[in-house]
């Protein structure tokens, strides 16, 4: 039974391309051009994963609205923002609404499908018993690779897929400096340095929000970051 994915995107060429590509990866894909169209369809039946563009036709913030609706309907539904807008403000707004990931449109289809499959894996992992091998423990940190869950002192830290992968590479090699390129490759994004920096900042903030004493991610200026042992 193929998993169903909905793409809400107002640009027909992109929509068609993504629909085709994801279909080729074996998903059952449905594309929508407007928010109202998508809402109507979701009212009938929810897909298992939604990819949303923020600007929808004449609604510059339409994607955010749609995300809000969907979160209200289904708390666990994986939602990915895929958009040309990459300002920190937009990213933060999107993630606050509970999106699982925020990607810019220059991501390759290959990377996109990796994200999608990772999210599905996480969904599956949540309903399965924990797989011991994939758990990394580092002091108060506990990282379940399968479920893409990170917890600190037993409290779960809500990370997006990109953020999770960044934490993942840092934690797997504690004490090693990982430069921005490595982080980028691991998180399967192609972005500039400033974006990596703001990702790390957000990760720190999320930890600090739950554990004010958190300082495990250390900046090595000019080089990169490492997980303090």
């Amino acid at each position: 039974m193929a998993r169903s994915i909905a793409i809400v995107e107002d640009e027909p060429s992109i929509r068609a391309n993504y629909v085709e590509a994801l279909t080729r990866f074996g998903y059952q894909v449905q594309g929508y051009a407007t928010r109202s169209e998508a809402s109507r369809a979701f009212n009938l039946r929810l897909p298992e994963l939604v990819i949303i563009d923020i600007g929808l036709g004449d609604e510059p913030e339409g994607g955010f609205e749609l995300c809000r609706e969907l979160r209200a309907k289904a708390a666990l539904l994986p939602i990915i923002f895929l958009t040309a807008r990459d300002s920190d403000l937009d990213i933060i707004s999107g993630l606050r609404l509970g999106a699982d990931d925020y990607l810019t449109k220059d991501i390759s289809l290959h990377h996109l499908s990796a994200r999608i499959s990772a999210l599905f894996r996480r969904l599956d992992a949540l309903s399965k018993p924990m797989n011991k091998e994939t758990v990394v423990e580092q002091g108060p940190l506990r990282l379940e690779a399968e479920r893409m869950r990170v917890s600190w002192n037993g409290q779960e830290i809500p990370l997006t897929v990109t953020e999770f992968w960044m934490v993942h590479i840092l934690v797997r090699f504690p004490g090693h400096v990982k430069n921005r390129d490595q982080l980028m490759r691991e998180a399967q994004v192609v972005v500039d340095d400033a974006t990596i920096t703001s990702h790390i900042k957000r990760i720190r903030k999320k930890f600090i929000a739950l554990a004010p004493e958190f300082d495990a991610i250390e900046t090595v200026h000019g080089v990169g970051y490492r997980w303090r042992v």
Partner: protein
């Protein structure tokens, strides 16, 4: 010259006020003076008429003045005891040489003295009783008393005592039968000094000189004792003074003058001085003299002790026209008005009357007016000057504020920190400010447009780029000929490069936003630099890479991430311009309140025109096909604008210059601590 001083100069125009006032006061004073002159002249004329009516005795013709003596006269033929009176000597010489014979008469209580000086360089000496006396040098003296006259011949063969021979009118008379005197000579002439008792003294005298020219010449002047004119002897007379006192008005000094200006009688007193402090009087007199008084004649011409008055006004009166003059009085700070009128007896001028009145009231009055005026105008000047100065200060302060704001705006290319000053002022400056504001808004809008052009462009490019990329990805899965695969590969390369360009364009604007949201933290700048330098070392390759960092930590409050990024850009820049065997040098110096980082590298120099604009976005000085071959990351000149943004975030500057020795280029950023505040953080 600043506005302030210009306006202060304008304030000087209030000086026109005292000037006008001064002119007015002067005119007023002149009027008052004129009135006083007329009044005094009128009373002088009245007095003259009453004197004439009272048959006061007035001499006719040229009189000989008998000076009252204050010192003893020694009869010796020498004039030194006459020194005080000599200036008043009267000339009785012949018409063509009046100075040939000069005489002075004086009297004490008992004697009438006579000094006669004759200029005569050629002498024929003989005694008066000699038969040839009439044809030798001699003086003829005729005296008359009442009806009787007597003439004498004065001559002497040698200096010393002499006796005069009576030549005429020998018969009974009170006049002395014998006249003796002293005779002295010098190279210029001879001198006769003689005296007679007052009881025998004449009331009219004639004197003439006979100069027998030496070497048988004709006489230069002959004096026939018969036709020599008898001159009345004039004296100061107490009786006449009493008469004068009878008629003279109060507080007026009156002098009766003969028709030669000799003082025959005087009476009266000037008004007493008012008792004010002398200093004040002195000051007032200074002001009065300096600013108001008419041309004053010399006071000494009118001194009360003079035996003879020689002032122009007196002569004018003696010629028949009343005249007035002002002169300073002996007392400080007051003036005296003198009025002279002729005394006519049956149409003939017999003398003059000189009245003097103190003009104290005038100076006081006008001084008071003038001082009041000066005070008022000084006050007005001060007030006006002060007000104008204040106004100018405020004005220039406002203009300076406007200018400063404009300059700040220029530095930030049209962005203003807040509103322009004066923009709600309702005057021309407000207008100017508003116009400035409009202009700056335009500039700012345009600058913002330029600034955001890159990010807007990148936004717009993103979607078509995504279409291309996803289409290529989909194409990959089609069955394609190898040739098509090659093309796809190339297309993907192109798309990748486009993507890189778009990312670079976005970076600056993302950074600006990131900066707006960045929080400061305390960090050691030296450590940051050390980390960066270690990371760059492998990248430098064959180039010589040196750094000079302080050992001591250099603590700064700021965004280390950003600084590291800026350093990356600088290093990138340096790397791409430095030849393979060149050098790159990084230094860090501490400032009082921050730090300076320089990154110098060997390589081509900057074109001078570019040094200013190097840090603006989308500016690049790389030539086509520069050190980086094609296929490398594109260069849009965004890197250095990031450096500028980071420096500005830390309240510093970024600048580039050529090294002085021309070997390369130096980039320099100054950094200061951020203000310690948490910026609004939307996350």
């Amino acid at each position: 010259m600043s506005l302030r001083y210009k306006l202060l100069l304008i304030a000087l125009s209030t000086l026109a006020l005292p000037l006008a006032g001064w002119l007015f006061v002067r005119q007023m004073e002149e009027l008052l003076r004129h009135g006083q002159e007329q009044a005094l002249t009128a009373s002088a004329q009245a007095l003259a008429r009453s004197l004439v009516a009272s048959k006061i005795a007035l001499p006719q013709g040229q009189g000989l003045y008998v000076h009252p003596l204050t010192t003893r006269i020694t009869l010796d033929g020498y004039a030194d005891d006459w020194k005080l009176l000599l200036p008043y000597a009267q000339n009785l010489g012949p018409i063509d040489d009046a100075q040939k014979l000069r005489v002075v008469f004086a009297s004490d209580r008992d004697w009438l003295y006579l000094l006669a000086e004759v200029h005569d360089a050629t002498r024929i000496r003989v005694d008066s009783h000699d038969t040839s006396a009439a044809s030798s040098d001699h003086l003829n003296l005729s005296m008359a008393r009442g009806e009787s006259t007597r003439s004498y011949l004065l001559a002497s063969a040698a200096p010393g005592s002499f006796e005069a021979a009576v030549t005429d009118g020998v018969e009974g008379s009170v006049l002395p039968k014998v006249l003796s005197g002293e005779w002295q000579e010098d190279g210029a002439g001879y001198r006769i000094e003689m005296r007679m008792p007052l009881s025998q003294a004449p009331d009219r005298i004639a004197l003439s000189v006979f100069d027998a020219a030496g070497r048988g010449d004709v006489a230069v002047a002959s004096a026939d004792p018969q036709d020599a004119e008898l001159h009345p002897l004039l004296r100061y007379s107490r009786a006449r003074a009493d008469d004068l006192a009878l008629y003279a008005p109060q507080d007026v000094r009156v002098r009766l003058l003969s028709n030669d200006g000799w003082v025959l009688a005087k009476s009266g007193e000037l008004a007493p001085a008012n008792t004010e402090s002398s200093r004040r009087r002195w000051f007032e007199s200074l002001i009065y003299r300096g600013l108001l008084a008419p041309g004053l004649t010399a006071a000494q011409d009118f001194a009360f002790g003079l035996p003879r008055l020689n002032a122009t006004e007196v002569w004018q009166a003696l010629s028949g026209v009343a005249a007035t003059a002002w002169h300073p009085s002996e007392r400080e700070g007051s003036v005296v008005l003198a009025a002279a009128v002729p005394l006519r007896v049956q149409g003939e001028i017999r003398g003059a009357l000189l009245l003097e009145q103190s003009g104290d009231a005038l100076p006081i009055l006008t001084n008071r007016a003038l001082l009041g005026l000066m005070g008022a105008s000084l006050l007005a000047l001060l007030v006006a000057g002060g007000v104008l100065f204040l106004f100018a200060s405020v004005l220039s302060l406002r203009i300076r504020r406007l200018r400063d704001a404009a300059e700040r705006a220029v530095r930030t290319s049209g962005r203003l920190d807040g509103r322009l000053p004066l923009s709600d002022a309702r005057d021309e400056l407000g207008d100017l400010s508003r116009s400035f504001g409009k202009l700056l808004d335009e500039v700012a809008a345009y600058t913002d447009y330029l600034r955001t052009l890159a990010s807007k462009l990148s936004h717009e490019l993103n979607t078509p780029l995504a279409i291309v990329k996803s289409s290529l990805d989909n194409l990959d899965h089609q069955s394609l000929t190898p040739a098509a695969r090659t093309y796809i590969g190339r297309a993907r390369d192109g798309a990748e490069r486009l993507g890189a360009i778009v990312r670079a364009m976005r970076e600056a604007s993302r950074l600006e936003r990131a900066i707006a949201m960045s929080d400061g933290e305390d960090f050691d700048l030296a450590a940051v630099l050390r980390g960066c330098v270690e990371a760059y070392r492998p990248l430098a390759g064959t180039r010589e890479f040196s750094c000079d960092l302080p050992d001591a930590p250099l603590t700064l409050h700021g965004a280390p991430e950003m600084i590291a990024q800026a350093l990356d850009k600088l290093f990138d820049n340096a790397l791409s311009f430095t030849p393979e065997n060149g050098w790159i040098r990084v230094t860090l110096c501490a400032l009082d309140d921050g730090a300076v980082i320089t990154m110098a590298n060997q390589g081509p120099l900057l074109p001078p025109a570019m040094q200013e604009h190097l840090f603006e976005s989308l500016v690049s000085v790389r030539e086509q096909g520069s050190a980086r071959g094609s296929g490398n990351a594109p260069h849009l000149g965004l890197g250095l604008s990031v450096v500028r943004l980071v420096a500005e975030l830390h309240r510093g500057t970024a600048s580039a210059s050529n090294l002085t020795d021309g070997s390369g280029v130096e980039f320099r950023i100054t950094l200061h601590s951020l203000a310690r505040r948490r910026l609004s953080d939307p996350s």
